[in-house]
Amino acid sequence: MKHVIIIGGGIAGMQCACTLADRGIAATIIEKEADLGGKIRSWHVLFPTFTSADEVLSAARRRLAQAENVTIRTGCEATKLTPKRVTLSTGEELECDAVVIATGFTLFDARLKEEYGYGIYDNVVTSADLEHMFNKGEVRLSSGQAPRRIALLHCVGSRDEKVCQRHCSKVCCVTGVKQAIELKKMFPTADVFNFYMDIRMFGPGYEEMYREAQLAHNVHFVRGRISEVSPTIDNRLQIKAEDTLTGRPLKMGIDMLVLLVGMRSNDWNTSLEAECGLKCQPSGFMQPKDSFLGNVESNVEGIFYAGTVTAPKNIGESINEGTAAALAAAEWISK
């Protein structure tokens, strides 16, 4: 029986394993965490439909449980790979017929944007922290009170030369709008402001959700990037931005600041380039063989990509790539 090793057990990797199993190919998922699911595990609901992340993940888990010949190796990492062999952090070497890399992305470390005060001031949180709070069912300030005025800042660690992240992370805009709506649902009397440079609503239903945020939820949108955050005497936060549409500086006291952190390429990508002959893009994400005809293939035959390892993508796109990578691998094996 042919055997494919999938590195990374996020949503793309899981989908890839299911598809391979359907085609009668054995799959092994290598996952560094203790559990499968990747980043979705910490998400609450998904844009633009507000579908529970858990629902999507459970469906994938169920399919995976029913699939035959799928081996799951959690708590270990791949250290070295060729199309025919993967070395694990345990020292084991696994033989295979093809490899799919579905290692995803790394969340941008918001502490690098020191002027926003993440890790310095209370009540400056990232979008990932906020999802965590949503999951716990409670969004509270450090004082235990409910926030009355919340600002969400777009493009933290994306499109920013100063942190060497030139690319657009694609999903933060829509996440920001989604989180604004969720906050408004939770605190109907609170003021929610989104500070943005550009709003990029690229997917189906996204623009409608943006409109809904404005019309049904009265979420404010200010076109201007926050320059810095400072504490106030009454333990709130003061933000500074330019309201570029009026051309005047704007400052505002808020209770909570949400930083919509972007997607960064994994540090591991550079060692893939150095040791496995795979190519990276200038952004650090892996370079597919061709951006039209070989999206899930790498420049090395027998190694395939699925999901956000090649670029920021939303969940639907990542799942599709899991399928596409599985099919491409299956075809290559049968040659």
């Binding site: 002027e115 310095i120 100063k162 942190v163």
Partner: protein
Amino acid sequence: MTFFAKFCIPFIIGTVSLFAIVLIKYISWLRDLPKSDLKLIIKGIPTHRTLTAIVEVVSESLLHRRIFRVNPLLGYMHMSLAFGWFLLIAVGWIETIAYLGFEWIPLQGHVFFKYFVPLNGITEHKPLFDFVMDFLLLFVLSGVALAWFKRMRSRAMGMKRTTKHTTFDRIALSSLWFIFPIRLLAESITAAIYGGGGFLTGGIGTLLSSMIDVNILTALYEPIWWLYSLALGTFFVAMPFSRYMHIFTEIPLIFLRHYRLKPEDKEKSYDNFEVEACSRCGICIDPCQLQLQLGINDVQSVYFLRDRRYNMLQQKIANNCLMCGRCEQTCPVGINLNTLRLNSRTSMRNIPNEGRYSYLRGLDRSEGEGQVGYFAGCMTLLTPNTMTSMQRIFEAAHEKVWWADKDGGVCCGRPLRLTGETDSAQKMVDYNKALFAKHNITTLVTSCPICLRVLREEYNLEGIEVLHHSEYILRLMRQGRLRVRYSSEQSFTYHDPCELGRGSGIYEEPRAVIEAIGQLLETEHNRKNAFCCGSSVANTAINDGQQLTIAQHVAAELDSTGAKTVVTACPQCKKAIVRGSKLKVMDLSEIVAQNLH
């Protein structure tokens, strides 16, 4: 006795023109000196300063002690040419006296003495002088050989890059290269015909007479002395217009410097001495990070001074400098390169404007009250970790603090000064001075080395002690008002900010603070040789990508120390290094606040 031959004419013309031009330069520069500078000179002459200046002239202008420190071979080359030539002249003088007694002999008589000896019927042979003169000639020739060698392989002399020359430099350089080999040939041929000469000229003379017919040698005799005179004449004519003007400029410069003259914000006559004292040796090129890390090689101090001297300085050259001071550190002539660049910028950009910054009037956004004032500086407002850490340190030391610019203040004025708008920058200086005076502080602490420099150098804050936070923290620790935990588990490396280290001479205070908290691992380039982070406000010419490239180089060196944390003491440096380092980058105040007892 006659001491004239036709071939002496080029030499005489050269010498006369050289001395006339040098004299005109000296007189006009001294005449244009401001009154205060003249007073300093007059007061300084009858003091011990004159003696120490003479000692320095010998050790630098003749022996080139400082170049020896850059590279021994390079030092030897300069010394053999300068000191050797000087001795040739001096011993030559003594030689003529020894032969002829105290008698007035025209200059060419001394210089071409070997030519005139047989003509004047001097037959007495003084082997000691022949030996000494030949030895000295050999000494100079070894320097010339090294100069040729340096042209081809500068790396062997410790220099990766050498200066690109102007036309006058090339003329002077080429004639200089020929002077001594031709002299050797001329004296050897003379010895071949008339006998005499030391081990070198006499030896070659004997060899020549055995190999070549006497008639041919006699035919060559006049032309070779012509050639020697021409080489000298050409060199002397070109000299005051070329880099070799430094030979004559460095001497008065050393005296003036000992009388405490120095360049200032605005150009003045004294600058001429510094500008023309540059020998264009090019030692400043190698340490320059714009060259080292960005490959820009036409803006370094040597080219800046050259362009300024010939009145062809462009803004893009003057502005493209980090003013990190790495070149100043190595300049063997000790030229104040940063100040000269600054006053060039001032000449280009300073436009007095009384109405400028009138909006500052009556402004006061400070808060708190205390004897100690804290001036964060604009950049520190963007590194809130430093702000909150300083707050914790103040609280731990029970210090009452007046916060000058917590909610945004007025810039210290140094960034504007550095671009040359000196008079306008003074408006900010005046504003801040008045603000400090109004709040009756006795100590002013700042976290920004850029501010520190201008606060110390330009503010003249009477009754207020200005401290960088590294000095302040160390003082608190030594007074026992601040106690920190030590753990050998923690390892740090330290990046010296230019304005704090080379700029203000603060190297050891931050290190003492770090060593009280954990282990300090030094980088290869530290203290005076430390790299600049690349984000210096003094440079408005390089772009973001170039700043990043420099920062990445610097960060790579810091990362390679094996330390867990990079520590610096400047918000600008911190912001730069964060972009390139894989380690945690922290301000000095942060590690103190984190490890408070």
